[in-house]
């Protein structure tokens, strides 16, 4: 039986799980949840995800939500196949966790409202808060400087190899790079190099094709 992912291929948090599936060569089925009609807020979906968000998974009787918890579960379950996303020793795993937590507490808190204002609101015909976006970009610049410094002496965030710490950034980065924030990344040599390496990965290319974002 194949794991079912409730969500959609164009939304960032489901993309985090899909990237994990693709990197780990795990078969899956997407069950579409229509965000435009607020299907995620309806009773049937709330039983899967009580906060009314995507994604959620069902794997036989086993159910889970929170994209980072789902990705962690499958990366662990399939540790012997595909890309090793979790690190090779206790200490390396801790460094992977550290930079994955940086994504949650420093990067996503800025990236999400930027993407909301620059990408999602225009699509919904809502007004973007331009003042807020400029404030967020200034804060993001400070965070990206730290990443730039880290990536100057490390090929990837947790060391020499691609791990969950890098993967977890990719969905929001993908959206940010479609806005003028891409100038902030391109202006930083190491971040630019890192992003080009990440987007050259076959799993990312497959995901972008599935999402209809790439030829």
């Amino acid at each position: 039986m194949v794991v079912k992912l409730y969500g959609l291929v164009t939304a960032a948090c489901p993309q985090r799980v899909l990237l994990c599936f693709l990197e780990k060569e795990i078969e899956f089925e997407i069950v579409h949840v229509d965000l435009d009609t607020l299907e995620q807020k309806k009773p049937e979906h709330l039983l899967r995800q009580p906060f009314g968000q995507v994604p959620a998974i069902e794997d036989g009787d086993f159910k889970l939500f929170e994209s980072r918890a789902i990705a962690r579960y499958y990366a662990t379950k399939y540790s012997n196949q595909g890309t090793n996303l979790l690190g090779k020793s206790l200490e390396h795993r801790a460094i992977v966790d550290q930079w994955a937590d940086v994504e949650t507490h420093y990067f996503n808190v800025l990236a999400f409202p930027i993407v909301l204002n620059l990408v999602i609101k225009p699509r919904l015909g809502e007004e973007c808060d331009a003042v807020l976006v400029e404030e967020l970009k200034a804060k993001l610049g400070v965070v990206l400087d730290i990443y730039e410094n880290r990536l100057a002496s490390n090929r990837f965030l947790a060391g020499d190899e691609f791990t969950m710490a890098d993967l977890t950034h990719m969905p929001a980065m993908g959206y940010l790079m479609r806005t003028d924030v891409n100038q902030m990344v391109k202006a930083r040599v190491n971040m630019n190099r890192w992003w080009e390496e990440l987007t050259a990965r076959p799993a990312w290319k497959k995901l972008m094709k599935m999402a209809g974002f790439e030829a």
Binding site: F65, E66, A69, I70, R72, A94, D97, I146, R150
Partner: protein
């Protein structure tokens, strides 16, 4: 050599790590960092945590920041002693622990930290709390606690029937929150209240809570 934790007992994120160390019966040395003198912004500290925040853990050659990465490391390194904080023996149970830990990170923490920032940190800076921010985040926190109320009606703790990191990560901010005039958000939800009282009865909590000394400004 005992692990070193850089930071102070009154810091929420440091307390998260101290709770874990006590639950795992692990020796450690607490190395104070003078935040008022901005020692956490000195190059010597930034070389350990480039984001300039406490806590930082040093364990032999490993230097680690981010309190939840630190608790996960301690829990795994010492998985064979003390409280089983991660249910490591069963992959699905471990995933449920991780799920509710993510809920704390993404749903609970942003709302409660915004309230505590306004009611405790802002007055310490000599400024007036922003009532609109408090109101907005109390509403968000209330909705999160509604989800918890329902979950805790089915299981004794967030991730099941035993105490795990998913519960532990909530403790320090909730402790400060219960000192504010908004403690009703917890006390008015019977299951959440019972869960909180249970968390406060744990020996590790009784060792760490005396260090959580900051108080909300009275108004």
């Amino acid at each position: 050599m005992a692990m070193k934790v850089y930071g102070n007992g009154m810091s929420v994120c440091v307390a998260r790590v101290l709770l874990c160390l006590h639950e795992k019966e692990t020796e450690f040395e607490l190395v104070p960092v003078d935040l008022f003198a901005c020692h956490h912004k000195l190059p010597s500290f930034l070389s350990m945590n480039p984001f300039g925040q406490v806590p930082v853990l040093q364990d032999d050659d490993l230097t680690l920041f981010e309190s939840r990465a630190i608790t996960a490391y301690i829990a795994e390194k010492h998985k064979d002693k003390g409280t089983d904080l991660t249910r490591h023996a069963d992959a699905k149970e471990a995933a449920i622990v991780k799920l509710w830990s993510e809920v704390e990170s993404h749903h609970f923490n942003p709302a409660i930290s915004a309230v505590i920032h306004q009611l405790i940190v802002v007055p310490l800076q000599g400024k007036t709390p922003d009532a609109a921010i408090v109101e907005e985040n109390l509403e968000k926190l209330g909705k999160v606690l509604d989800v918890y109320e329902e979950k805790l009606g089915k299981t004794k703790y967030l991730a099941g029937d035993s105490y795990t990191l998913a519960d532990l990560h909530h403790v320090p901010y909730t402790y400060y929150f219960m000192k504010t005039c908004h403690a009703g958000l917890v006390n008015d939800r019977p299951k959440v209240k019972a869960w909180w009282e249970d968390l406060c009865s744990r020996p590790a909590f009784l060792k760490v809570s005396p260090g959580l000394t900051v108080a909300p400004a009275t108004n």
